[in-house]
């Protein structure tokens, strides 16, 4: 038998129908939906008189537009309300389980899937959302789809897919103190570029990846799409199994043990071939900060904003000029001299308990700088919020001058009231710094939670490694 990659194994396990020269029909184990990209899919089904084939494998949540302040108040945004109402009606009619905004399990779709154990190794998972790649941290094949495909999965529980190429990303060595999963993935995207992984499914390996917690692995897989690859995965191991045991939707007792035995087989065979391999040395990665308008334009915190002229390709020169103009930055400025207006710690990239703990540890007993207009902590789910409150993290943040909010996408996308105003600059733990992402004409710098926390305290970017080491992790 030929040696296979993890991706090929999961792919083969889910083939429903194949025909030479055509994309295959792939079975989908879990379908996650949210209010933003599902209404048109349900209307499409209705128009054709079709039904949801497997409501039991479909999970819905409200996350993109939910308010992060008081949810007992009426929703003022009528368009958002219409989407919430539509999701509720669609779920009720089709029998799909919905975590509405008042559910104690509500949260960002990619946070609650793993948190509730809906996400499990070896599965195929799709969602009308590009950051579905997050779930790959469990050794699942998970990727984002468009609304027409959401409709397709609702109707058939399958997806029409061509096989992807494979990309092996190895991060060797030990991650230095102050360097987080976020810095690793930003460094990877910086290296391969935002289109570097297009057409590929990535598998991460190497000591620095293996040593990450599940929270950290999810951060890495989450931003895989920012490097162009639709899915990123980490083969499951003891860390994965320990995380999953006891979660609500995970099998229990003997059935859990049997599942673990099956999950252990989900590794890439020795000698399996990847179409492309990228290798990094963890020791060489510094805390990262993006300076432009896509996640691939990133540099170490000790560096400077680059000169457009330093790029060889004329397209890159033009894009860099545009980006610096948009960002209000001068070439040559040291990153640590860039002042920050607002800090956002949240999003499906960095709003899990590990992230909040690390940030809280850093800010404990300190206070946000005077020039910071707002510092937001938005836990990824109500479950995480409750767990953090149990540890007293909310108090630490509040005393340090941060606002402690309810769970949702929030300022990652600014579809609710949490918007970054025009020309203001954020240190944000989210995943996209595209023009207008956090608000029209807003300026986003992507960083890790500890880098964001440190920027809040200092009022500008700062090398988190300068903080006493114990304060970092």
């Amino acid at each position: 038998m030929t040696a296979k990659t993890l991706y090929e194994k999961i792919w083969n396990n889910h083939l429903v129908y194949e025909e030479p020269g055509k994309p295959s029909l792939l079975y989908i184990d879990r379908h996650l939906i949210h209010e933003g990209t599902s209404p048109q899919a349900f209307s499409g089904l209705r128009a054709e008189g079709r039904k949801v084939r497997r409501p039991d494998l479909t999970f819905a949540v409200m996350d993109h537009s939910v308010p992060t302040k008081d949810r007992t108040l009426p929703i003022i945004d009528q368009d958002a309300k219409a989407q919430f109402d539509a999701l509720e009606k669609n779920c009720k009619e089709s029998g799909v389980r919905l975590f509405d905004m008042n559910s104690k399990n509500q949260g960002i779709v990619h946070i609650i899937g793993p948190e509730l154990g809906i996400t499990q190794p070896g599965q195929t998972i799709v969602c009308g959302d590009s950051h579905t790649s997050t779930h790959g941290a469990f050794g699942t094949l998970a990727f984002g789809i468009g609304t027409s495909e959401v409709e397709h999965v609702l109707a058939t529980q399958c997806l029409v897919q061509g096989e992807s190429k494979t990309l092996h990303i190895l991060v060797h060595g030990k991650r230095p103190k102050g360097v987080t999963a976020k810095d690793i993935i930003l460094a990877i995207i910086g290296k391969i570029g935002i289109g570097g992984g297009t057409g590929h499914v990535a598998e991460y390996g190497g000591q620095a990846i293996r040593e990450l917690s599940m929270d950290g692995r999810m951060t890495v897989c989450n931003m895989t799409i920012e490097g162009g690859a639709r899915a990123g995965m980490v083969a499951p191991d003891e860390t994965t199994f320990a995380y999953l045991e006891g979660r609500p939707f995970v099998p229990r007792g003997k059935e859990f043990q049997d599942a673990v035995e099956r999950w252990k087989l989900l590794t890439t065979d020795d000698g399996a071939k990847f179409d492309m391999t990228v290798e990094l040395q963890a020791e060489n990665i510094a805390p990262q900060v993006t300076w432009g308008t896509n996640p691939g334009v990133v540099t170490g915190v000790t560096d400077r904003v680059p000169d457009p002229g330093s790029f060889a390709n004329p397209d890159d020169q033009k894009a860099t000029e545009r980006a610096l103009h948009y960002m209000g930055l001068k070439a040559g400025t040291p990153i640590v001299d860039i002042p920050v207006d607002r800090v956002f710690i949240g999003s499906c990239t960095n709003s899990r308990l590990d992230d909040l703990r690390a940030a809280a540890h850093l800010v404990a007993g300190k206070h946000v700088a005077k020039n910071i207009k707002q510092a937001l902590i938005v836990p990824g789910s109500r479950g995480i919020k409750a767990a953090a409150e149990k540890e007293g993290l909310d108090r630490i943040f509040s005393e340090a001058g941060f606002e402690w909010r309810d769970a949702g996408c929030s300022m990652c996308i600014g579809m609710n009231a949490d918007v970054l105003p025009p020309h203001e600059r954020s240190a944000s733990t989210s995943n996209r710094n595209f023009e207008g992402r956090q608000g029209r004409d807003s300026r986003t710098h992507l960083v890790s939670p500890v880098m964001a926390a440190a920027a809040a305290i200092a009022g500008h970017f700062v090398d988190v490694r300068e903080f006493a080491v114990t304060e970092v992790e």
Binding site: V16, T37, P39, S148, A259, I413
Partner: protein, 210 residues
Amino acid sequence: MKPFITHTGLVLPFDRVNVDTDQMVPKQFLKALTREGFGRILFYDWRYLAGEKPNPEFILNFPEYKGASLLLTRANFGCGSSREHAPWAIGDYGFRVILAPSYADIFYNNCFKNGILPAILKDSDIDQLFKRAEADRSYTLSVDLPNQSITDNKSLTLTFEIAPSRKEVLLKGLDDIGTSLQHVGAIDAYEKAHAATATMYAPVDVKNYS
């Protein structure tokens, strides 16, 4: 879906790399319940100034490009968010063909669900088309999908790449769901064969999980 066979139209040269879907349809328009009417807001933040005044410096607002139906652009078009609102906006605006050296995966997929042809051309051919389109603001091209060719009226002929199965979807205007449902027997069989390991475990206190 309307089949796509040939198309002739005005070319709009949009000289930017890595155009992401957040730019095509900014987040404030993701709260819609229908697929219609997105053409008006395509490239909203670039296209309109305060008060929805058209930005005269943005190429979509140039009067000579009114009615353009081929969008000529650069690498990695459609990166970022999976929002299908992006191709809905492109199609509703009136574009039927995109010409670029490469696309982001999800966006590329989404185009085929909406009868838009995302043609992949060699970098050097894209450069050449930009030269011609920028020199002549009424530059038109004819696209022939069966032959995978693009011609102008000055004897330029180029070819583009597309997978045969993708080509068929556009040529026949196929409805994916209808096609897949022809294999419902295979789906049933798959579910039966995997039932033992694919059980959906409901939590013990299942009432707490709604």
